[in-house]
């Protein structure tokens, strides 16, 4: 069994500290680094000398998690999907010593999907996640706008209310409680986040790593009434969001008509797993004669071609593993609601196979598991 998976002998525990959530998480990470329990921590932090830049960093210096340090582990922002980054970190080999990562549930699910796709290693990755209230769109951070929203964000978190300015995909998210984290930090719908914080230690390693933290034992789990209520609200928003997608060939062509073919959605997608995208490969660099023949056939030909085809190809590749993180929408220079469209398709594809990406490492991606009778279906 891979490390980090819940062992049957271990009973998950809850721990309530007498410090705010940000302080608690900082203290936990700082002590992990100080004690040498982990070699580094992947977490969000400020970059540059100004207040604009936010990026994931591998922090090795414990001081990054001091109150005035550069790290901002709970910032409601996703400059890159952390699951993709963990894959990048471990693509060249498994970690020999533990590294902690503070990532959101959808980032964690992306990482699990990537593990199934053999793109990295879970070994020695110590996962800290939290009940999630969503992230602001990337454009919010331009000109320091992120700080303005912050107070309202944390008030909403305590009340179990999503800020309407977070990514639409976050407002429609049904999987905002992390699965498979070593430690779950309870944030959404929790009272007094400025002076107390509840952690759920889901694994033996999680419990061992949290040893230095003082607090009282709590029972139960991260689920509670506020989360259930929010789930209902998010479901309702999701239906509304999906209803707004123009279906059919006409809708498809109209929606992706303004695609500029930059493939940024593919670049930032944590799941898009091909090492060389077909649409970026020499296969799609055609002889002029190909275009001339197409032109004779159609009278007019869009250049570069394959705009909608690219979207359909990408969709067929990732729909089953799409975690709905929303990176694609945020980076689209043509403001196409890529994530909404992909999430809608993903929802129906995933429902067909009763598959939930990132839920369980042992659960195979449906297109990789064949049953004998399925071969017979194809044969006849």
């Amino acid at each position: 069994m891979p490390e980090g998976a819940t062992s049957s002998a271990f009973t998950p525990k809850g721990l309530r500290t007498n410090q705010g959530a940000d302080e608690t998480v900082r203290q936990l990470l700082r002590s992990l680094l100080e004690r040498g329990d982990v070699e580094a921590v992947l977490a969000l932090g400020r970059t540059g000398t100004g207040e604009e830049g936010v990026a994931y960093s591998l922090f090795a210096d414990p001081d990054a998690f001091a109150p005035d340090g550069d790290a901002r582990p709970l910032l409601p922002f996703m400059p890159a999907n952390g699951g993709g980054l963990l894959s990048r970190l471990t693509l060249g080999g498994a970690l020999v010593r533990p590294v902690a990562a503070v990532i959101r549930p959808c980032e964690l699910r992306a990482f699990i999907e990537l593990m199934k796709l053999n793109q990295g290693s879970l070994d020695n990755v110590f996962l800290i996640s939290f009940t999630c209230g969503g992230v602001y769109p990337l454009e919010t951070a331009v000109d320091g706008g992120l700080d303005e929203g912050m107070r309202g964000y944390w008030q909403g978190m305590e009340q179990g209310e999503l800020d309407a300015a977070v990514r639409p995909t976050c407002r429609a998210c049904q999987s905002f409680i992390p699965e498979r984290a070593d430690i779950t930090v309870a944030l959404f719908g929790e009272e007094h986040l400025d002076r107390q914080c509840t952690l759920y230690l889901n694994t033996e390693r999680g419990a061992a790593f949290a040893q230095g933290l003082e607090g009282t034992a709590v029972t139960g789990g991260a689920e509670h009434a506020a989360i259930e209520r929010s789930r209902g609200e998010r479901d309702a928003f999701r239906e509304e969001l999906f209803a707004g997608v123009d279906g059919g060939m006409r809708g498809l062509i109209q929606t992706f008509g303004r695609c500029i073919g930059c493939h940024a959605c593919k670049t930032v997608c944590p799941i898009c797993y091909c090492q060389l995208c077909h649409f970026d490969s020499p296969d799609c660099e055609r002889e002029p004669g190909y275009y001339e023949a197409e032109l004779r056939r159609k009278g007019g030909l869009r250049v570069p071609p394959d705009t909608v085809f690219f979207q359909l190809g990408r969709m067929s590749h990732i729909a089953l593993s799409c975690v709905g993180c929303g990176m694609c929408t945020d980076v689209c220079p043509a403001d196409i609601p890529v994530s909404t469209i992909f999430s809608k398709v993903a929802a129906s594809a995933q429902a067909t196979f009763d598959y939930k990406p990132g839920r369980d490492l042992e659960e195979e991606i449906p297109l990789r598991t064949f049953r004998e009778e399925e071969f017979a279906q194809v044969a006849t």
Binding site: T47, G48, D63, T90, G93, V99, A141, R258
Partner: protein, 394 residues
């Protein structure tokens, strides 16, 4: 004596005049097809279409309010593997034609059988501004273009001085639409091919016409010159401001501090020429020890790493071929002024080597054209400084 050029009467508007001219050229089989921007069915974007059917050509927009895809890139896509056999007229903006010329020198486009037709360019709106309300954006663009107001345009368009033929002479034909005050444009050959096309279109006129054409050409040239001067001054000022904002390691880091490593600037850049970007290659997919050692030695390692290095690497690759189109800035999800920074770097680099990106197919790319004495320059110090020492050491 023939005036160099002809008059394109534009009683029904400039777009119509250009489209009718192109249709006539298709009819006369001067061209087999036209590559030109066309509004998409949802009326919220424009895309390059290669068109043979004149009915589709009716929907074309020779000067759309935005540049979703850089025309040089579209030409590159069509002709990357070799030249067309059909004769195709590409109606593009001057910076797009210049990019196509750079790509041709980089052997990533082939201009044989392709006729570059450019227009006086008023600039384009930033894509995100236009998309907020496409109809209002189109109206705002039309008004600003008519008044020569570049303030709503892309920052690189605001300071562009290569918007016409004089400063971007690589086109085969150029349509001068800066206001002549008489509802007409001039169409001017930029190459012998362009002259032949005008002849085939029977656009060389009698004495009376020639005098009129000469007058219009003169008025147009004077006006272009005036705008070029004003734009050059704007460019100088804007570049001084950009320089003050980015000079020095800290300021440079800050400028790119919000970069999310999506590399979209590279993706949409018409002249970023590597088939596989080093920063996306397996060369940088390193074992975790490498990242962790760097994190340990610095205290923290931004991840994914090499953000600023990517921009510096990109700049060193394409500064000499950068046409300052601003496509990179349009595509940046973080609104980093990447187009402005690169246009500054490009001007400095190109000035230093007396090169203008996309001016002419005849100007060799400075970094691929070595002269004998330059090889000597590199070789000599090595022999003088190090070789002797090496011999002694041996």
């Amino acid at each position: 004596m023939n005036a160099k050029g002809a008059v394109l009467s534009a009683d029904e508007g400039m777009d119509r005049a250009v489209i009718e001219w192109l249709k006539e050229a298709l009819k006369r089989e001067i061209f087999d097809a036209v590559l030109i921007p066309v509004e998409t069915p949802a009326e919220d974007a424009f895309a390059y279409l290669l068109i043979q059917n004149p009915a589709i050509l009716d929907r074309a927009s020779p000067l759309p309010p935005v540049m979703p895809v850089q025309g040089g890139k579209a030409i590159g896509r069509l002709t990357m593997r070799g030249h067309l056999n059909d004769r195709v007229a590409a109606v593009v903006r001057p910076c797009e034609a210049r990019a196509a010329i750079e790509l041709t020198k980089l052997k990533q486009a082939h201009l044989t059988n392709l006729v570059l037709i450019t227009l006086d360019c008023p600039g384009v709106l930033p894509l995100s501004d236009y998309l907020e309300d496409p109809a209002a954006g189109a109206a705002r663009f039309a008004e600003a273009a008519a008044q020569g107001d570049r303030s709503p345009m892309r920052p690189t368009c605001q300071i562009c001085h290569r918007f016409s033929l004089a400063q971007a002479p690589g086109a085969d034909l150029h349509i001068g639409i800066l206001r002549n005050g008489d509802g007409a444009a001039v169409i001017v050959p930029g190459s012998a091919e362009g002259e032949r096309i005008l002849e085939k279109m029977e656009m060389t006129e009698g004495d009376e016409g020639t005098r009129l054409v000469a007058q219009m050409l003169e008025r147009w040239s004077a006006q272009v010159e005036e705008v070029v001067d004003a734009q050059l001054e704007r460019r100088r000022q804007a570049h001084a401001e950009v320089q003050a904002a980015v000079a020095g390691a800290d300021r440079l880091l800050d400028t790119f501090s919000s970069c999310i490593n999506c590399h979209n600037c590279q993706r949409v850049c018409p002249v970023c020429y590597c088939r596989q970007c080093y920063f996306e290659s397996t060369a940088l997919k390193l074992p975790p020890d490498n990242y962790l050692a760097r994190a340990a030695s610095k205290g923290a390692l931004r991840f994914a790493p090499d953000t600023l290095l990517f921009h510096l690497g990109r700049a060193s690759h394409m500064a000499l071929s950068c046409v300052s189109c601003g496509a990179c800035e349009d595509a940046c999800p973080m609104d980093i002024p990447v187009g402005q920074v690169f246009s500054l770097l490009a001007d400095r680099a190109q000035d230093a080597l007396g090169y203008v990106a996309g001016r002419s197919l005849e100007d060799p790319l400075p970094l691929v054209a070595y002269e004998m004495e330059e090889l000597h320059d590199v070789e000599q110090p090595y022999i003088e400084i190090y070789h002797e020492q090496e011999v002694q050491d041996a």
